[in-house]
C-alpha cells in the first residue's frame, strides 16, 4: 500500500484513531453519536403474526427463500423434461407446444422467481439488517406485504398451467408479435397471466427494494460507514437500485402488450397476416418491445450477478482467512458494473434488425464492462493467494463459482463482440453461455451461501458428507452439461428447437452428445434433491452449531443470541470500529477481529485499514 493512500485513509476516518498510539481506551474507541433513535419494532402476539404474517425481516427472508426454491424445483423438473425430449425424441414425450411452454416457464422461473427473489428477497432480507447492524428493515409492514405480493405472483404464474391453452410458450423474452398471435401456445390466457404475474412481482419487489435501500442508507449502526459494509451488502444494495430502475421498463412493456392483446391497441403490433388472415393491427413496432425488454433484461443479469459477486467475495475472504483483496476497487467495480449495465442492453439485439450502426456502440460498451468484471475475478483469486484456505463447503462452492463464472464470462466476450455474435447468436452457444454465467455460477454461490449461513438461520450445521457429494456432482456435472453445448452452437444448432432431427449440416454424433448432456442433467438434478433433503433433515438432526462457527467478522455473527432473536441485538446496539475483513492481522492473537471489537481490545494488532 502506498504512503499517499495511507494518508488519505487517515484523513477520512478521523474518528477512528490509530490503535497503536498511547491514548486512553475511551479516546481510541470514539465513534460518532447515533443519528437516529433506536427503531421501534412491531412485536407479534400470535403464532400467525410471528410465523405467517411476519414483519421480521429474517422470517420474511426465509419465506422468500423457501417460495423461490420451491418454484425453482418446478423449473428444474421442466428442464429434465426438455432435456429428455431433446435427447430421446423417439419417446414422443412432449408435443412441440408443451416443449415451448416448458422452455418459457423454465426460463422465466429460473431468472425471476428463483434467482431474483432468492438473492434480493431471501438473502437481502435476512442479511441486510443483520450486516448493517440494524434491528430490522426500515418499513417492516411494507416488507411483509412485499412477500405476499410475491407469493401471489407465483400463484398466478402457476395457475397458468391450468387455464385453457396452458401457459404461454412465447419464450422467456415474450417477444411480440408471436407472444399474442395464434401460432404460439398460450397466446390468449397464458400470456396474460404471465404478464399479470410479472406486474405483481414488480410491484411486490418495489416495496421490498425501497426497504433495502432505505435500510442500507439510513439504518446502519454507529461506526458502520458505507465503506465498512461487507461486499454482500454492497452487491445486494446496488442490485436493488438496478432493479428499481430496470423493472419499470418491463412493467410498461408488459402493460402495453397486455393492451395489445386484450384491447387491440398496436404498440408492438404492425400490420400482419397471421395464418392467412389479415389482423387488425397497424403501425406498431416489435423492436420497441425488444428495447424495453432488454433495457430491463440486461440489468437483470446483473441483478442476479451482483449479489452473487458480493456474497462470494465474503465467502472467499472468510474461508481463506484473508482480507478481501482490493476492497475499494471491488466496491467501485460493483458500482461501475451496475452503472454500465444500463448502456449495453442492445447487445442482445445485434441481429434483431435494429439500425446496424448501433452494433459499434453496443459492442464497445459491452467490452468495456468486461474490464471491471475481470477486476473482480482477479481480486478473488488474489484473495486466495497467500491465504490460509479452508476447504469448507462454502469455499468449495466459491471455487466452483470462480471456474464456472470465468468460463461463462469469457464466452461473453464472444457474444459481445458483435461480429462473433452473428454466427453464434440464437444457437446453443448462447444457451451454454448464459447458463454458465447467470445460471450455474450464481446457483453455486447460492449453495455456498446456504451452507455458510444455515447455522445462523437454524442454529445447526448442514451435513458435511451430503454437502460434499452435492458439491462434486453439481460443479463437475454442470460443467459437463454446458461445456460441450458450446460446440453444438458452433455447428449451428439453433436454440429453442423442439427436435434437432438429422440434418446435412449436423454430424450424427451430435445426437450422441445430446444423450450425454441429458444424462448429466438428470444426475445433476437428482443431486439437488439430496440438497433439499439435507436442508430439511439438518434443521432438526444437524450438528448443533457453535456461535460464529466460521470465525467471521461481519456483524450478523455477533448477535447476542444465535439464531438472532427478534430485534437482532438485544438491549445494546452494536458499535462498529473496523471493516469486516480484518483476518490474520499481524500481531493479533486470533486470526480474526470482528467488526464490533474496539481498538482498545486489540491494541497489539497492526491494523492497516479502518
Amino acid at each position: 500500500m502506498s504512503d499517499e493512500y495511507e494518508h488519505k485513509l487517515e484523513a477520512k476516518s478521523d474518528y477512528v484513531s490509530d490503535a497503536s498510539s498511547g491514548t486512553s481506551a475511551s479516546d481510541i474507541d470514539k465513534l460518532p453519536p447515533a443519528e437516529l433513535p433506536d427503531q421501534e419494532l412491531y412485536h407479534s402476539h400470535s403464532w400467525w403474526t410471528t410465523y405467517v404474517f411476519s414483519q421480521d425481516a429474517k422470517y420474511i427472508g426465509v419465506q422468500y427463500a423457501c417460495t423461490a426454491i420451491g418454484t425453482g424445483i418446478l423449473g428444474l423438473v421442466l428442464s429434465w423434461l426438455m432435456r429428455l425430449q431433446i435427447a430421446f425424441p423417439g419417446l414422443g414425450l412432449l408435443e412441440p407446444s408443451a416443449y415451448y411452454q416448458f422452455v418459457t416457464m423454465h426460463g422465466m422461473i429460473m431468472v425471476i422467481y428463483l434467482l431474483t427473489a432468492l438473492f434480493l428477497g431471501g438473502f437481502g432480507n435476512f442479511l441486510i439488517p443483520l450486516m448493517c447492524g440494524s434491528r430490522d428493515m426500515a418499513f417492516p409492514y411494507v416488507n411483509m406485504v412485499s412477500y405476499w405480493m410475491f407469493l401471489v405472483a407465483v400463484l398466478v404464474l402457476l395457475s397458468s398451467f391450468f387455464v385453457p391453452g396452458g401457459p404461454t410458450g412465447a419464450g422467456w423474452t415474450l417477444y411480440p408479435p408471436q407472444a399474442i398471435t395464434s401460432g404460439t401456445p398460450g397466446h390468449n390466457m397464458g400470456i396474460i397471466l404471465m404478464l399479470v404475474s410479472l406486474v405483481l412481482f414488480v410491484a411486490g419487489f418495489t416495496m421490498g427494494g425501497l426497504n433495502y435501500i432505505v435500510t442500507v442508507l439510513q439504518l446502519r449502526t454507529r461506526g458502520m460507514t458505507l465503506m465498512r459494509l461487507p461486499l454482500t451488502v454492497w452487491g445486494i444494495f446496488v442490485a436493488t437500485i438496478l432493479a428499481l430502475l430496470a423493472f419499470p421498463a418491463l412493467l410498461v412493456g408488459g402493460l402495453m402488450m397486455t393492451l395489445d392483446g386484450l384491447l387491440g391497441t398496436s404498440f408492438f403490433m404492425p400490420a400482419i397476416v397471421s395464418m392467412g388472415e389479415q389482423l387488425k393491427y397497424e403501425g406498431g413496432s416489435p423492436i420497441l418491445f425488444q428495447h424495453l425488454f432488454w433495457f430491463f433484461g440486461h440489468p437483470e443479469v446483473y441483478i442476479v450477478a451482483l449479489p452473487a459477486f458480493g456474497i462470494v467475495s465474503d465467502l472467499i475472504s472468510i474461508h481463506a482467512r484473508k482480507n478481501i483483496f482490493g476492497y475499494r476497487m471491488m466496491v467501485w467495480a460493483i458500482v461501475g458494473i451496475g452503472a454500465l449495465s444500463f448502456f449495453v442492453w442492445a447487445h442482445h439485439m445485434y441481429v434483431a434488425g435494429m439500425n446496424p450502426w448501433f452494433g459499434f456502440f453496443f459492442a464497445t460498451t459491452t467490452l468495456i464492462i468486461a474490464v471491471p468484471t475481470a477486476i473482480k475475478v482477479y481480486n478473488w483469486i488474489l484473495t486466495l493467494w497467500r491465504g490460509n484456505i479452508q476447504l469448507s463447503l462454502p469455499m468449495l462452492f466459491s471455487l466452483g463459482f470462480i471456474v464456472t463464472f470465468l468460463n461463462g464470462g469469457l464466452t461473453g466476450l464472444f457474444l459481445g463482440n458483435v461480429t462473433v455474435d452473428v454466427p453464434l447468436s440464437d444457437t446453443y452457444f448462447v444457451v451454454a453461455h448464459f447458463h454458465m454465467v447467470m445460471g450455474i455460477a450464481p446457483v453455486l454461490v447460492v449453495f455456498g451461501a446456504i451452507y455458510h449461513w444455515y447455522p445462523l438461520i437454524t442454529g445447526r450445521m448442514l451435513n458435511e458428507t451430503l454437502g460434499k457429494i452435492h458439491f462434486w456432482i453439481t460443479f463437475v456435472g454442470s460443467y459437463a452439461i454446458y461445456f460441450p453445448m458450446h460446440y453444438q452452437g458452433f455447428i449451428g444448432v439453433p436454440r429453442r428447437y423442439f427436435e434437432i432431427y438429422d440434418s446435412p449440416y449436423i454430424e450424427t454424433s451430435t445426437m450422441g452428445l445430446n444423450v450425454f448432456i441429458t444424462v448429466a442433467a438428470l444426475i445433476v438434478g437428482a443431486a439437488q434433491l439430496l440438497f433439499i433433503y439435507n436442508l430439511i433433515s439438518s434443521a432438526r438432526l444437524g450438528k448443533k452449531a457453535e456461535k460464529n462457527p466460521w470465525k467471521a467478522n461481519s456483524l450478523e455473527w455477533q448477535t447476542p443470541e444465535m439464531p438472532p432473536a427478534h430485534g437482532n441485538w438485544g438491549k445494546e446496539m452494536p458499535k462498529v470500529y473496523r471493516w469486516p475483513y480484518d483476518y490474520s492481522v499481524p500481531g493479533a492473537k486470533e486470526d480474526y477481529i470482528p467488526q464490533n471489537v474496539a481498538p482498545s481490545a486489540v491494541t497489539e494488532a497492526k491494523v492497516e485499514k479502518s
Binding site: P270, V351, L391, L406, F414, P423, F490, P494, S503
Partner: protein
C-alpha cells in the same frame, strides 16, 4: 486437495475437448472467413486466460491449503498491481474488439453490385423473390397480401411486374456473385440462417432488414429459422443451392413472373367462382 486437481483437469480437459472432439463448425461456404478468424482469435485469447486463471487457482488451493499455524498475508490493497491488471485487461479487450468491429463494418456495408433477393418468412416456411429483368424489386405491403397476390406486391409499381416469385422453399444462388438478402416477415419474427454462410438477421414484420454474402462454394445448404416463431419454429427449413452459371440460368428461366402468376391466380379464382355459381 482434490479440488486443485479437478480444476486443473477441467482446464486441460476443456483444451483436449476443443482440439480432439469431432464437433466443430461446418466448413464455410461464404465470404465471411473474417467471422471465423475473429472467433479463432477470441478462442486463443480467452483460452489462454481461462487456463492461466484455472492454473493459478489450483496452485493457490494446493500451496495455501489450511494449516493451523499458517498465517495468511495481511495486505488490503496493492495499487500498482491493480493498475497493471487493468491495463493488461484493457489491451486484451481492444485486441478482441478492433478486428471484430472491422468485420462488422464489412457486414453492414453492402457492395453496390450485390444482387438483391427478397426472402419472405411466414409461419412456417420460406418464399423468395428475385428482381427479374429490370433488376429492381417492386414495392410490397403486407396489407395487399391475399390469395392472388401472396407476396403483397403493389400492383401500381411497374418494377414489380417482372419480379420472379419462388414459392417452393428452395432458392438458387450464383457462385461468387455477392447477394443482398432483403428480409421480410409477414406474421411474426423469424431469422434467415444458413450455418455455412455464417450470416444471420431477424426478419421483422413491418420492416425490411438485410445482410449480404458472397457464396464461395457450390452445394446444397439447409436454411434454418433462428428466431423463435411459434410451434413450428424447429421445422421451418428450406434449401439454398449454390450453382455455377449454367445451372443457375437454367433454374432462373423456369421461375414465373409476378404478372403471369397474378393472371393465373385471377383466372383460377374466376373459374372457382364460376364453378361455385353453377
Amino acid at each position: 486437495m482434490a479440488v486443485a486437481i479437478v480444476i486443473l483437469l477441467i482446464a486441460l480437459g476443456s483444451i483436449a475437448f476443443h482440439f480432439w472432439s469431432p464437433w466443430w463448425w461446418t466448413p464455410i461456404a461464404s465470404n465471411w472467413q473474417g467471422m471465423d478468424d475473429t472467433i479463432l482469435l477470441t478462442f486463443w485469447i480467452t483460452g489462454f486466460v481461462f487456463v492461466a486463471i484455472c492454473a493459478f487457482v489450483a496452485y493457490c488451493v494446493w500451496k495455501y491449503r489450511y494449516q493451523k499455524n499458517r498465517i495468511a498475508e495481511y495486505k488490503p490493497e496493492d495499487k500498482k498491481l491493480e493498475t497493471r491488471l487493468i491495463l493488461i485487461t484493457t489491451l486484451g479487450v481492444i485486441a478482441l474488439l478492433a478486428p471484430g468491429l472491422l468485420v462488422w463494418n464489412n457486414y453492414i456495408s453492402v457492395p453496390d453490385n450485390a444482387y438483391k433477393v427478397e426472402v419472405v418468412a411466414y409461419q412456417w416456411g420460406w418464399k423468395f423473390r428475385l428482381p427479374g429483368k429490370d433488376g429492381v424489386l417492386g414495392k410490397t405491403d403486407i396489407k395487399l397480401i391475399n390469395d392472388e397476390n401472396p407476396f403483397g406486391l403493389n400492383l401500381e409499381d411497374s418494377y414489380g411486374k417482372d419480379d420472379l416469385l419462388v414459392d417452393e422453399g428452395e432458392l438458387h444462388l450464383l457462385l461468387d456473385r455477392p447477394v443482398k438478402f432483403e428480409l421480410r416477415a409477414i406474421d411474426v419474427l423469424h431469422n434467415f440462417y444458413v450455418p455455412q454462410f455464417r450470416g444471420k438477421m431477424d426478419m421483422v414484420p413491418g420492416m425490411i432488414t438485410y445482410y449480404w454474402i458472397t457464396p464461395t462454394r457450390i452445394g446444397e445448404f439447409e436454411i434454418l429459422c433462428a428466431e423463435y416463431c411459434g410451434t413450428g419454429h424447429y421445422a421451418m427449413r428450406g434449401l439454398v443451392i449454390v450453382d455455377k452459371e449454367k445451372e443457375y440460368n437454367k433454374w432462373e428461366a423456369k421461375q414465373i413472373t409476378f404478372d403471369k402468376m397474378f393472371a393465373k391466380n385471377k383466372n383460377n379464382k374466376n373459374l372457382q367462382l364460376a364453378k361455385n355459381t353453377k
